[in-house]
Structure formats: C-alpha cells, structure tokens
C-alpha cells in the first residue's frame, strides 16, 4: 500500500525538535538511543500508521537498539522518514537495515570530527585564553554550536529529500576534512604544551660568588623542556598495559605532591 505525500515540513520540524532537545533523555545500556529515536519518530508514525497493527510494528522497529553520534542521526531520520512515507509498513525491514548499517559509520565520523577534533581545537584555544582570564573560548564554542544546530536541520532535510545518497556524496570529502582538521588540531596541541603546562624549577645553586637558577639553564637548552618531557612521559605511560587515564592522573598528582613538597617544582 503506497502512501502519498502525507509528511509535511511541520512533521519534519516536530521530529527535528524532539531529537534535538530530548532525543537522548532515556539513554540506557540496553537500547541506548533506541527509545529516543522512537520518541522522535512518533509524529511521523502517527501520520502514516492509522492501523494499530501497523503502528505496533513500527514502534517495535524503532524501539530497537540504536547508537549514533547525535548530530549525524538527523541524516538517518530524514532518510528513514522518506522511506516510510513512500512504502509504509512494507519498508520496515529496509528501514531497520539502513539504521543498523549507517549508525556505526556515522557515529565514527561524528565522534572523530565533532567529538575529538573540533572540541580539541576550540577548547585548546578557549582554555588557553581562560587561563589568561579571558572567557572568549565560551563565545567561540557558542558560535560553533549554533552552526551545528543549523547543520543538523540541513541533515534532516537532505536525508529526507535525497535519502542515503548524502552518505555516498559526502564520503570522500568528509575524510579529507577530517584529515585537514586533524592537522589543525595537532598544530594547536603542539602550541598548548609550552603554553598551559606550568612546571617551574625554583632551585638555585650557589657556588661562591656564582648563583645559578636551574630553570634559566634549562630554558637555555630548550624552552618548555619540562612540559615536553612530562607529556612524553605520560604518553609513554598510557601505552603501558594496565594503565588508564584515571591512573595517569593519579600518578601525575603523586609526582606533583612529591616534587612540590621537596621544592623541586614550584
């Protein structure tokens, strides 16, 4: 049974805001975002499935396990709605397949590009400025957030209009953007090392007339030598078996307490 154009932009908007504002409210270890996805789709399901049996199938399909990066899910939602609008309840299996097939990769790209890289860049700069008393980083992030919210609306519309073609067309370009963004991220992180790690050796050696500040000797060798060594140390530690980030934090605190207590660092 084919459905005609029943889905209006008002329906799409309802789905959009449900996901944007409340999509992950019920996140749990069993189905993760599954219920949230189902919740977001309800306005569309109400329009398409007036028959109770159909609605039940639809609800169960959408209440299945789902996990994706929340900002790329709109692509799947859009494509899903288009498929269901076209073929109604018959499309359920295909819809399930698309959801399962796309959620992994889109999570991957979203987590890497938006989660790791973008946040690194923005909050490296933001934290650096904040340590100097400047809250500019907060504004930069708000602008980025506004952009992402708009982007997500575009994802939903494009997913609905073009189906999953957006994935194929975005593909190669997204990889290149991720690579380029990683480069930007690494440049900024390299600059972070001497800027935000504070490790000062206040030891002074006196030999007769000569006083020598250890820190300035080290600085002559290489500025920010100690921060660099520290990062290398922690990086190496993290590669060891049984090490976790939490343990690394505790180790650094322990080192700080010991060296600080003895006045070697201060």
């Amino acid at each position: 049974m084919k459905m005609s154009d029943k889905i209006t932009s008002k329906d799409l908007r309802k789905v959009r805001y449900r996901w944007l504002l409340f999509g992950e409210a019920s996140w749990n270890y069993e189905k993760m975002q599954g219920l949230g996805y189902c919740y977001s789709m309800i306005p569309v399901l109400k329009k398409l499935y007036t028959n109770k049996e159909d609605m039940k199938i639809a609800l169960k399909t959408h209440n299945q396990f789902f996990n994706c990066h929340q900002e790329f899910t709109e692509i799947i939602l859009g494509a899903d709605i288009a498929m269901e609008e076209k073929n109604g309840i018959e499309s359920m299996e295909a819809v399930s397949a698309v959801k399962t097939g796309l959620m992994g990769p889109l999570a991957g790209i979203g987590d890497t590009l938006f989660g790791v890289i973008a946040n690194t860049i923005i909050f490296s700069i933001g934290s650096y400025m904040a340590l100097q008393g400047n809250p500019l980083g907060i504004w930069i992030n708000l602008i980025w957030a506004a952009f992402r919210i708009v982007l997500r609306g575009w994802f939903l519309k494009t997913g609905y209009r073009d189906g999953t073609k957006i994935v194929t067309s975005m593909g190669a370009t997204l990889n290149r953007i991720t690579e380029a963004a990683s480069v930007l991220g690494l440049t900024v992180v390299g600059a972070l090392i001497p800027s935000v790690i504070r490790a000062n050796i206040p030891l002074v050696f006196e030999a007769g007339e000569v006083t020598m500040e250890l820190q300035s000797v080290i600085d002559q060798m290489m500025p920010a030598l100690i921060p660099v060594l520290l990062v290398v140390l922690v990086y190496w530690l993290l590669g060891r078996k049984g090490m976790s980030s939490s343990k690394a934090i505790l180790i650094v605190i322990a080192i700080s307490l010991v060296l600080g207590g003895f006045g070697i660092l201060g």
Binding site: Y29, E30, K31, Q64, F65, N67, H69, V98, G101, L102, M103, G104, P105, L106, A107, G108, I109, G110, D111, T112, G115, V116, T164, V167, T168, M170, G171, A172, L174, N175, R176, T178, E179, S182, L238, K241, G242, M243, S244, S245
Partner: protein
Amino acid sequence: MSSNGIIHVRIDDRLIHGQVAVFWCNAVNATRIMVANDDVAANELQKSALRLVVPAGLSSSLISVDTAIANICAGKYIGQKVILVLKSPLDAVRMLRGGVELGIVNSGNLSVREGTVNLKKNINVTTAELEAFKQLHAAGIKLTAKLVPDNAEDDLMDYIKKLE
C-alpha cells in the same frame, strides 16, 4: 604478532564506529582496516558509509568472508598491519575453518537483540554466538573483551564460564 598481516581482530556488530576508528587504529598503528562481512560486501550504501570512517591514510578492505579467507591465506597482506573487524563470532569461526590464523580475538560491542543473553556490559550473545565463542576457545584462540585499548585485559571466557 601474526605472520599473515592481521594484527588485531575485533568483533563488533556496529563494525567501524567511533571507538574503533579513533582508538584502536592509533593504538596498534594499523595500515589497513578490513571488514569481512557478506552483507556489507554486497551493499554499496554500507560500503560508502564505512569508507567515511576509515581514518585518513589507512587502506580499507570491505569484502565478503570468503574473499577475506582467500586473500589472507594467499598472503595478500603480509607485511601490513591489518585490523580485522567482524560482525559476529560466527564469522570468526568461518575464517578459522577457512584456515586463517586468528591469534587473539577481541570483542567490542554485541548489542541487545531478541534472544540475547548479557555476558558483560556491552556484550550480549545469542545461543549461536555463545557456541561460536566456545568453538574459538576450543581451537586455542584467546578471547578478550576490551572495549577500548585503555581497558584492562579481560578474558571473555571468564564471563562465559559465569553463565554456566
């Protein structure tokens, strides 16, 4: 570790996603990421989606289980560092039977589905999958359950034994 080029085997029903792409490829210095799955190999959409997540600079292989067996046994990847991603332990058993040396098999996510039993936080298995794990273990393969490289060494068999 392995002479056929496979340096890490991961079972994850979401195939390549955030954790795999970001953590594991860096942790093991992979040069290639391989998804051996019949459904994926036959589905253009899935293939383009997966290509999205392959980290830049890595080669990818999105092939059927049989092709993977044939290629690996023919020595196509010797000298490379391949992360092999499988959707299910059933595929791992197929590869084992096909003559592929697997070494250690790590399990990432196996989601809750109808008829699954919970082994560990992210790992839920059907009866068939449980059997498959036992077969792998019987063949001498070490089964671990590390979600991310950071995690402690976790033996999957410990959880399987707890079930019985």
